[in-house]
């Protein structure tokens, strides 16, 4: 069931401060937060271990300053980790030369930024074609590819607009199109929707899910919004003070928060939004052969609409479309009423 890991990050540390590497080593194998701060170091990432599987959306969630951006910048080696190991398709990135890193970033990685990072004097078309231009792809080919990407994010017709002529949501669509232009294997998104209005944010989240259902990238998605994490994630890692406090599927996290800190987040979120149908379904098929059906991977909240017609049970379908179980009305009601209380 588990896909192979695209990116493995083992025991990664990032400390800011002079001579951090030597001082970290001097503090022993697992220094505490207080010990590090006492030594005058800023611990941005502490002993982070994660594994991003092929084709999954891996969300890193944490409050401001918890070290998310630092971690993701370590993963792409935009900054050097103080200690640890980062394996991309089995290749240790930390031993790669600068030239190799340039090659990997050019062809294997894409990144979307919180504030879009569009080049202000280039048109939408030039912005999207930019990663290809850097690689030296000729104009005709890179513009054709850029037009494809622009169409993919629904901006056809705005190719010659400048970034400042676009709304925030449109600008981020350009950012997304640009990051996809090189067909990356690994896609980083650092709080891509945080700078947008709630309505636009929802719209782009939907767009993002649609894209992913087609593209099937391996994704590292950063957010400080637990709702967003639940909505998008296959798996979530929750960070606090630079350390990962829990890692698991949204269901696991909502059903079994590992610490009080995590429980605080889950309290505000209706369980039905996180729990998948397959978790609460019963074996067998519904008595009523014409009962509505729902995918096993849908959330219970999504499935609940099917009960509006009065059905007592609905069919649950697997990925191949065959029935794998049934979902009972009372289980759904119980979960809904159990509501947001942990």
């Amino acid at each position: 069931m588990t896909a192979p890991a695209t990116l493995i990050c083992r025991n990664v540390w990032k400390l800011f401060g002079a001579d951090a590497e030597r001082r970290l080593a001097a503090l022993g194998p697992a220094p505490s937060l207080e010990a590090l701060q006492g030594a005058g170091l800023i611990p941005a990432v502490r002993d982070a271990t994660i594994e991003v599987r092929a084709g999954e959306i891996f969300v890193i969630m944490g409050l401001s300053g918890s070290g998310k951006s630092t971690l993701v910048r370590c993963l792409s080696r935009l900054i050097e980790p103080t200690a640890g190991e980062i394996l991309f398709n089995g290749r240790n990135l930390l031993t790669a030369s600068e030239a190799e890193m340039i090659e990997i970033r050019r062809h294997k990685m894409g990144m979307v930024f919180q504030h879009f990072a569009l080049l202000p004097h280039q048109t939408v078309l030039e912005n999207v074609a930019f990663p290809l231009a850097v690689q030296g792809v000729d104009r005709a080919r890179r513009e054709a590819r850029a037009r494809e990407m622009i169409a993919l994010v629904g901006l056809t017709g705005r190719e010659s607009a400048l970034p400042r002529q676009l709304s925030g949501g449109q600008q981020q669509r350009v950012g997304i199109a640009r990051s996809l232009a090189v067909e990356p294997e690994l896609w980083f998104l650092d709080e891509p929707f945080s700078a947008l209005d709630p309505l636009i944010r929802r719209e782009l989240q939907g767009e993002f899910m649609r894209l992913q259902s087609v593209l099937k990238k391996s994704i590292v998605f950063i957010t400080h919004d637990f709702d967003e994490a639940i909505r998008l994630a296959d798996r979530i890692a929750i960070m606090k003070d630079g350390a990962i406090v829990q890692c698991g599927t949204p269901e696991e996290i909502v059903m079994n928060p590992a610490t009080d800190y995590v429980r605080e987040f889950t309290r505000a979120v209706p369980k039905a939004k996180a729990v998948r149908v397959r978790t609460v379904m019963q074996p067998g098929v519904p008595a009523d052969r014409n009962a509505p059906s729902v995918a096993a991977t849908a959330t219970v909240a999504e499935a609940s609409a099917a009960f509006l017609d009065g059905a007592a049970e609905i069919a649950v379908l697997g990925a191949d479309g065959t029935a794998v179980g049934r979902l009972r009305r009372e289980d759904v009601v119980q979960l809904l009423l159990g509501g947001s209380e942990g």
């Binding site: 910048r73 792409s76 935009l78 890193m101 340039i102 090659e103 990997i104 970033r105 050019r106 062809h107 990685m109 894409g110 990144m111 930024f113 919180q114 504030h115 879009f116 990072a117 080049l119 202000p120 004097h121 280039q122 048109t123 930019f130 990663p131 231009a133 850097v134 690689q135 010659s160 400048l162 090189v182 980083f188």
Partner: protein, 667 residues
């Protein structure tokens, strides 16, 4: 402000030490009153201990020209080589605009191709104006150049334009490369900083002589001098604006796999484009500002005409050439400003001539011009019969003013001289160097920490030790009085216009235009009315330096958070209270920076007023120039630079402190 300075300021026990300032002042006054007899060395720096910097520098320049060598290549060969390299584009531009392409030498020369006909040049500038902004800018640019033609300044103006066309690209590219290098290598940035400070504060006259010696007399030496003057702001702006590029853009560049040079040229420089264009505008305006001074070492053109007319006391001719410089400055300023904010449009698809309509139009204009010029002499050269001259009018007007109002002017001048200038001068010249140095060191320490104190004390000591003290005090007295008056005019004007949008826009247009005028232009009318002397110098300096006083006051007042004013109103403050205890208080840091700029403007103008017979450091520099004595000029020039650096550092530190105390964020 470095972190070290910040921390040393936060650790000093400022609250309990308020009595230190009065104490220092009292000590200084005591020294002035009773010290003269007891401590004569504190008033006259002992001759025996003088640092013979003039001799050293003179010897150094001589060594550079005669002996210095890198391996087999002599240093003077290098400088001559640079001059030769600059000469190539300069000749080309000059041929194109002024002399035409010639074959052969001297009087036997045959013209292969005449210069671009004047209507074509005017239309080209119109085309550029249309390209960067639109019809209005096109008309303005054409109007300016037509003005130059009508008043018979075309030939000289094209010579000047040729040197600007060479100096500006070299200045921009050189400044850009240096700025990028400083951005990449922090050590270079640290090393460059004091050099740029000196380049910007040193009076131009001071380095004309060494340049003359190293590069020879002629237009290329003038271009070199212009570069030294005009490049530093470009360098600074480049480093600054590259630092300001958002870190996300930087990350983007690395994530898409840019190499180092792609990072610089395809990501950072384009992202900083707007700020860089401000730098280009600065280089253009500073180059134009140098036009007249550069003509002292061989740049011909309008600058030479102004200077020659001034020497003949032919004010009419001088004014006309001066107006031509102003017209050119206005045109180039507007064009470069418009270029900075130009909206890019996608080129129309299609064949080459469709995608580049402006290039096609330019080619058409030039060829049509040449063809028309072949048949019509009036197109080839602007006909003298069409020229207007106001020179006689100006001469008559000045004469009329002088005949009818001479007594009034003299009375005003003498009253100010006797009651203000002379007493202050006497006071300043009587100050003991040791006391002033100690006081400056103390002030530096109090507002900016011990490093600043060390700097201000050391620079002040150097001025005394190199024998420049008395002249420096005369500079300071003229600069101080002019600054005080400029502030006394500028701040109230600023207060009056700050709250009125429409008025401020009008005033802004005026002061923007005033700032594009080369500083020499200010000198001319004043000299006509008041002849030579300190009073004349003072008026010219005030006229030049009042602009920043107004501008910064307005910027400061308009920058005050409107919510605070609302709050004041809600608390029942009278308009007067709102002005004094809210708006002016919060605008204080900005106004302090305005003061700083006013002083810098005053100092740079003061050096030029040496031409009207002041007796200060500027005069020393100017005399050194006429005697071609590099040591003497540079030492006096350095003294001016030191004064500028001391005031700049003290006021900036004070402004930063005030800002911190008011809880305003430092940017």
């Amino acid at each position: 402000m470095s972190a070290a300075e910040l921390s040393s300021r936060t650790t000093d026990p400022s609250a309990g030490a308020r009595w230190l300032w009065p104490l220092a002042l009292v000590l200084l006054v005591l020294l002035c009153l009773v010290g003269a007899a007891a401590l004569p060395w504190a008033f006259d720096y002992p001759k025996g201990l003088r640092i013979p910097a003039q001799r050293w520098i003179g010897a150094f320049v001589k060594w550079l020209t005669n002996e210095a060598a890198v391996g087999p290549i002599r240093f003077s060969d290098i400088t001559r080589f640079i001059a030769a390299v600059i000469d190539v584009p300069y000749r080309a531009a000059l041929n194109l605009l002024s002399t035409g392409f010639l074959k052969g030498e001297g009087s036997q020369a045959i013209q292969l191709l005449p210069p671009i006909p004047w209507p074509a040049v005017i239309l080209l500038f119109g085309l550029i104006g249309y390209w960067v902004r639109g019809r209005a800018t096109a008309l303005l640019a054409m109007g300016c150049f037509l003005f130059i033609a009508i008043f018979g300044q075309w030939q000289s103006a094209m010579v000047t334009l040729a040197s600007i066309l060479v100096a500006v690209p070299i200045g921009v590219i050189g400044g850009l490369l240096l700025g990028i290098a400083a951005f990449r290598h922090p050590w270079l940035d640290r090393a460059l900083k004091p050099v740029l400070d000196l380049m910007q504060t040193m009076p131009v006259f001071a380095y004309l002589v060494p340049i003359l010696i190293l590069f020879g007399f002629g237009p290329t030496a003038a271009v070199v001098a212009t570069l030294i003057y005009a490049m530093p702001p470009m360098t600074r702006l480049t480093t600054l604006s590259l630092r300001r590029v958002p870190s996300e853009i930087d990350d983007l560049g690395r994530m898409v796999g840019c190499t180092r040079s792609q990072m610089t040229w395809r990501v950072l420089v384009p992202a900083a484009q707007d700020a860089l264009m401000v730098g280009v505008n600065q280089v253009i305006m500073l180059s134009l500002n140098m036009v007249i001074i550069a003509s002292m070492i061989g740049a011909g053109g309008l600058g030479f005409d102004v200077l020659a007319a001034l020497r003949r006391l032919d004010f009419g001719a001088g004014l006309e050439a001066g107006f031509a410089i102003v017209a050119m400055a206005v045109a180039l300023d507007r064009l470069s400003q418009a270029a900075a904010v130009r909206q890019r449009s996608m080129p129309a698809p299609g064949p080459w001539h469709r995608r580049h309509p402006y290039v096609v139009a330019a080619i058409l204009i030039v060829t049509t011009g040449y063809v028309a010029g072949h048949f019509l002499p009036a197109v080839r050269h602007y006909p003298e019969a069409w020229e207007l001259s106001t020179s006689a009018f100006w001469a008559a007007a000045v004469q009329w003013l002088n005949v009818n109002f001479f007594d009034y002017f003299e009375a005003i001048k003498n009253a100010v001289l006797l009651n203000l200038l002379v007493p202050v001068k006497r006071l300043m010249v009587g100050l003991p160097w040791a006391g002033v140095t100690a006081f400056l060191a103390f002030a530096g320490w109090r507002v900016g920490g011990w490093r600043l104190g060390l700097l201000t004390g050391a620079l002040s000591f150097l001025i005394a030790a190199t024998g420049q003290w008395e002249k420096a005090m005369i500079t300071l007295y003229l600069c101080g009085i002019s600054t005080a008056i400029a502030m006394a005019i500028g701040v109230p004007v600023g207060i009056a216009v700050a709250a009125r949008d429409r008025l401020w826009r009008a005033v802004q247009l005026i002061i923007d235009t005033l700032q594009t005028l080369p500083s020499f232009v200010y000198l001319m009318p004043v000299v006509m009315l008041f002849r030579v002397g300190d009073f004349t110098a003072m008026i010219a300096v005030i006229a030049y330096a009042v602009v920043p006083a107004i501008r910064y006051t307005v910027l400061g007042l308009r920058g005050v958070d409107p919510r605070l004013i609302e709050a004041g109103r809600a608390m029942g403050c009278t308009p007067r209270q709102i002005l004094f205890s809210i708006r002016l208080r919060l605008a204080a840091p900005e106004i302090l920076l305005g003061l700083n700029q006013t002083i810098m403007f005053a100092l740079s103008m003061l050096v030029i007023t040496a031409l009207v017979g002041t007796r200060d450091l500027g005069q020393e520099v100017y005399i050194a120039l006429t005697k071609a004595d590099p040591g003497r000029g540079l030492v006096a020039g350095l003294a001016v630079a030191f004064i500028a650096i001391i005031t700049d550092r003290l006021i900036s530190a004070a402004a930063a402190r005030t800002r911190e105390r008011l809880g305003l964020t430092t940017h």
